[in-house]
Amino acid sequence: MADPTSPSHRATRSAIEAVWRIESPRLIAALARITGDIGAAEELAQDTLVIALEQWPVQGVPDGPGAWLMATAKHRAVDLVRRRARYERKLQEVGRDMESRQETYGEPDADALDDHIGDDLLRLIFTACHPVLSAEARTALTLRLIGGLTTHEIGRAFLVPEPTIAQRIVRAKRTIAGKKIPFEIPAPGELAGRLASVLGVIYLIFNEGYAATSGNDWIRPELCVEALRLGRVLAGLMPDQLEVLGLTALMELQASRLPARVGPGGEPVLLTGQDRRRWDRLLIRRGLAALDRAGRLDAAPGPYAVQAEIAACHARATSVEGTDWERIVALYTVLAYLTPSPVVELNRAVAVGMAHGPAQGLEVADRLANEPALARYVQLPAVRGDLLARLGRFAEASEEFTRAAALTGNERERALFRARAEECSLG
């Protein structure tokens, strides 16, 4: 008998988990198509993992472990669908169920699946990011089903207790079932809106990693990497969607700065202070390539592509001074037109401050002073503080940084703002 604590057993277990990580999104997607139910699909996929964990350490890992998992999972899914169909028929026979659901549970066409892996994955992504779900639910479900993360990993990444995440996922699946959300790619008329929701979820995950809104770490790279992976998957599935390429480019370019974004003590290092030699050249290259592909599509750039263009300006520049700030100002003007928002306007203020000097930047920022949406926005006092300091108005700058320190939920950021407030109060 195989000893479950032996090193070879443990190694097999790790190997199975690795195969699982690679295969689980495709498995769940295929199973969801057979059963029409993502909750059941995930359970079937989990059952399949359990079978592998029982059999492989004893019988050895099969050749083509991915195909083995898929075949085993499909088999069980077809069984389930047949059982349900029989159950439905029985229900009808005894006359308890007035509403026939026979069509839904028709004989499954499991063999047609292999040609549809990409489509199934897309269906899974669109379902997990359905607007009927809350933003938190979409995020958790996407990371669970498409990212293949455990609830424990998701909880750790978002600093939320594991049971809370598990609850969110259970409730999200219940909502999808309850509202009878079909497992499908949205019709062309709906696609733009639904795609915006998918991109929004991915970028939210990325941003929580890129500038953590809470906790002790300034960045959580594993979330960025996860979002990047999702973006790359989506870009592969929808290579003709400009905003998909735009978002992927944006994330690749922003992630290229991650190694320079934290100092030796874990402190935040802002763009202007970063050692650009530490930027990840490979990610820059990939980001610029994605942006180039986006630019060759016959469509107008959306907000993600424009933001990627802005990120590209930084990526191409070898120094702060060598940055094409004029172009960045122009791009922010385009972005403000596409998605008018005080946050975009504040970013434009920063760019204007770099292109035309702090006085002009401050003029733009000051127009936002009474903006209700920015009343508790950390970056408003942070940006004003920086522009005021550059104008030599240190007392006012210090007040702004103190305000920023009070507003942020991130400890590293708070320390940074406190230090700047202190620095300014000394003149």
Binding site: E17, A18, R229, V233, G236, L237
Partner: protein, 116 residues
């Protein structure tokens, strides 16, 4: 976590079967679609390259071929969540050779990239 995969093998007596090339392209496509393959390329025989050696404060440039019995064939850069996942991708790659090029012998070294 990033892993660099380096494939090396002795010079084969037969040319690689065309189906192998196709299968490798397909696997590469899958890994790219899964968002884990960042970069990959084949390498020309070392006869086209050179070595630059520093020894005793002396730089020596030597044209290829190198004297090692094995040649580096290709590299791939993966971004995955564990060493096991990297090994799984490398195993799939090697498995294609087993299936399509009987008798071929080679090694993929799986090296973690520092700071990733």
């Amino acid at each position: 976590m990033r892993y660099l995969m380096l494939l090396s093998a002795a010079n084969p007596s037969t040319p690689p079967p065309p189906e192998l090339y196709e299968a490798i392209m397909k696997l590469g496509g899958e890994a790219t679609q899964a968002g884990v393959l960042l970069d990959t390329a084949g390498l020309l025989p070392s006869a086209a390259g050179a070595t630059v050696t520093l020894a005793g404060a002396q730089l020596t440039v030597t044209d290829g071929p190198f004297t090692e019995s094995k040649e580096l064939i290709s590299y791939a850069l993966y971004e995955v969540r564990s060493k096991e996942e990297a090994i799984e991708w490398a195993s799939r790659f090697m498995d294609l050779h087993r299936e399509l090029w009987p008798g071929w012998t080679g090694t993929t070294q799986v090296l973690q990239v520092m700071g990733s």
